[in-house]
């Protein structure tokens, strides 16, 4: 069935479509800005852990771990499909896996520090860094 619209209705429909697309686009921009901000905070958390390692300061490392886990929860890799570039949306399971591994190593930093095992804690830090770069290599690419 073909519905015939008057010129006025047609203009209204076009305007509504434009409005909707601009809202979606604005949401997309906002999502990307939020993602960038969270990623920067994750980087700061990593720097905190590293500094704690350099100065043998377990407390600082633990603060870094807490900050990292808090920011990871904001990132929510399960929703990676919504913010990944169009040609990389399929890879969200890979992002979810990296998030899980980062959390696992972050928890192990705390465990290692409980037994004053700084070597193990630093190894965990190195593994977190690997997970980050692994995801960037696959998904971010630049």
């Amino acid at each position: 069935m073909i519905t015939k619209y008057s010129t006025g209705k047609k203009i209204t429909l076009i305007l509504m479509a434009l409005l909707l697309s601009s809202i979606l686009s604005a949401n997309d921009i906002a999502d990307r800005a939020k993602l960038k901000s969270t990623m920067r905070d994750i980087l700061k958390s990593m720097e905190l852990i590293q500094r704690g390692g350099f100065y043998a300061n377990p407390q600082q490392m633990k603060s870094g771990v807490n900050s990292l886990k808090k920011n990871l929860s904001l990132l929510d890799a399960k929703h990676a499909k919504t913010y990944l570039p169009h040609d990389e949306k399929y890879a969200y399971k890979f992002a979810v896996k990296r998030e899980k591994m980062i959390t696992m190593y972050a928890d192990d930093i705390v465990e290692s520090l409980k037994t004053n095992n700084m070597d193990d804690a630093l190894e965990d830090y190195a593994q977190i860094l690997k997970q980050c770069s692994s995801c960037h290599l696959r998904i971010r690419k630049n």
């Binding site: 399971k93 890979f94 896996k97 591994m101 696992m104 190593y105 192990d108 593994q127 692994s134």
Partner: protein, 241 residues
Amino acid sequence: MQRRDFFKLVGGVSLVAIAPSLIEGELRADDGTLFKAYNKVQLIDAEGNPLLASKLVKEENYVFNYPHAGTSCMLLALPGTTEKDVKLRSEDGEEYIFKGGVGKGSNIVAYSAICPHQLTHINKNDTFISYTKTGEKTMACKQDSVIVCGSHLSAYDPHKGCKVVGGPAPQPLATIVLEHHDDDTLWAVAVLGPDKFHDFFKSFKPELKEQYGGKRKAKKLVSDAATTVALADFTKDIIKY
């Protein structure tokens, strides 16, 4: 090369060719052969019965843990005969020879399921590395009937000793040397090619604790028998790209 060294090398290589399970320890011959014998282990099914080569489903992705309790390997009955005497090269430039598959059709092969690029591996929760059947498409390469690591899209040809055919992997997957006996049973006896076991145990301590009760337990060498199941029964999620 001194005459004594030459005889040592020829003797060692001959022994490997005749009966790999007779070799114990590590053999790094001067010609670059890379071979490490482990316990001779029979492959059994989930019920504890011997796994028979003739009963394997072609192109089914089977899994067993070898040579360590926490290192998973893939077992495949490929659709066709594998190539023989394939020259392969490790990341360090060492050359070694893949002799071919076992079984009546020379199509049964096994490989370590640890990707040498960034150590992606099969675990009980999920796997990004698996076999892509004939006719199945993958983003990693145009070829089918390959093992694909979905993490960074490396592809390996199991017909050619898991030679790299796509992606960033720096070397083949290590071959698990199999023996096929007259009673149709299958045995894992050694690892050929460069393995990544050391790096694996160093890198996945928390995961090994979760899945095997600790690094030490995961590192324990498998002896006597290795339970072999379909990949879908081993892991909860098979992720393919």
